[in-house]
Amino acid sequence: MIDVAVVAFTQRQEDAISGESEVEFMVPLMEQAKASVGLTQSDMGFTCSGSSDFLAGQAFSFVMTIDGTGPVPPISESHVEQDGAWALYEAWVKIQCGGIDTAFVYSYGKSSPGSVRDVLATQMDPYYVCPLWPDSYAVEALAARLMLEGGHVSERRLAEIAARSRASAASNPHAVRTDPKSVAEILAEDYVIDPLRPSDLPAEADGGCAVVLAAGDRARDLCERPAWIRGMDHRGDAHTLGVRDLTSSASTRLAAHRAGAAADKIDLAELHGPFTTSEHLLIDALGLDEDSTAVNPSGGALAANTMMASGLIRIGEAASRIWRGDGDRAVAHATSGPCLQQNMVCVLEGD
């Protein structure tokens, strides 16, 4: 295996970016990420992006953003219609294939022009489920009741997760839900869709992020303390809700095992749990002990959930903390689909 590290990361998340197109807000982010390690687009061995044409409402919308990278002379690039964490995975595989020692990865999403809660119904089965338009909160609420009534979690535990996210997000300039609330205040909230309360839901955001990957000595040249990717794996559960156990995340467990997450202590974990219920399942699937692992020090997706970027931001947040020496070993997680259908686990370490 070729050692690959995250050496640069930039992000922007706001509750709504109304005056700028995706390309307009991505160009400065992409430039900043490359400039932070003294590189330009022509230094990149490979470029991979993640975004959604469906969200943008336009076919091949990502091509305009590629233009924004400054792809002259022509570049080697690819795109995934997925969260940018999967674009990073493709770039990591590309570096493993040899011949290049740098890669540029970015992703972005702007969901504020529509109602993302309703739009997400379109990712459900197109014949059996989508025509009924169950919104994403309703779908998660079905899993939440199974978890609550089955004794897998309590409403108090969910409120504790929400309160921790709010407290951590207070020091994250990119978080959008930062006002502190106590567990008691959260438990006093009215249900949005019984049994989920407002604080159990993701804080939807617009934005994007950019990451530079580098291999071996190139990474050591570019970064004082590279965040080495020691293991990375992604797995999926069945698409159909009715055939899987919604009270645990089997695919996260498998991905974590294959990525070697439990091989050593985990100082911090950045988990892409859009709901408090999903974060609880992830902590369980990864076997995290919150006394020894800082869970979502950024506030996580509960504090800012940017479609197509939230997973890659988890990897960037974890890597940044390794650069700063906040920890030596981190787990970053990304998800996609209803009720944690697809999951990626990435293990990062400092030297």
């Binding site: 005056g19 409402g57 919104d135 809700l241």
Partner: protein, 155 residues
């Protein structure tokens, strides 16, 4: 530079049709005729709604079987503020419902007067739409089946 945000209508279209195939097609045709089909898996259990391939093992599935029109609520969520295009314009419950004769559940709406009328394990039955066209919404939703009073000598 003006700070005015330009706006224009954008209509997303999907201007072609596709066949629903031998399994999903059979299920949808069954709905038009007021019948609900599942499909038998290699282990003998019945998947409803049916899929062409087993979602866990990817084995092709072919043996369609009719299932019941009543079943059990495995989980539910109270939708106090229905969204546009959802099955009912008054508050209702979303539920995962396991029909009699099936081993997996389907997502649909339960028309109950309030959350207090909903409980996990409750029995519900299909409410058919009068005009049916071979679509999941041929099932208007489900309604609670009143619990049977314990049988016994009338006083």
């Amino acid at each position: 530079m003006s700070s005015e945000v330009l706006q224009a209508p954008l209509v997303l279209e999907y201007p072609f049709t596709r066949s629903t195939g031998p399994v999903i097609g059979a299920f949808l045709t069954g709905l038009r005729d007021g019948v609900i089909c599942g499909i038998r898996r290699a282990d003998g259990t019945v998947l409803c709604p049916p899929q062409e391939y087993d979602p866990l093992t990817a084995e092709p599935l072919t043996e369609l079987v009719e299932v019941g029109q009543a079943g059990e609520v495995l989980t539910w969520a109270w939708n106090g503020d229905p969204r546009p295009m959802q099955p009912f314009d008054r508050p209702f419950a979303w539920a995962l419902i396991r029909l009699d004769g099936a081993d997996t559940s389907m997502l649909h709406a339960v028309f109950a007067p309030s959350a207090a009328e909903m409980s996990t394990g409750m029995r519900v039955r299909v409410v058919w739409r009068t005009e049916r066209e071979g679509h999941i919404a041929d099932i208007a939703g489900f309604e609670p089946i009143p619990a049977q009073r314990p049988s016994g000598r009338q006083q």
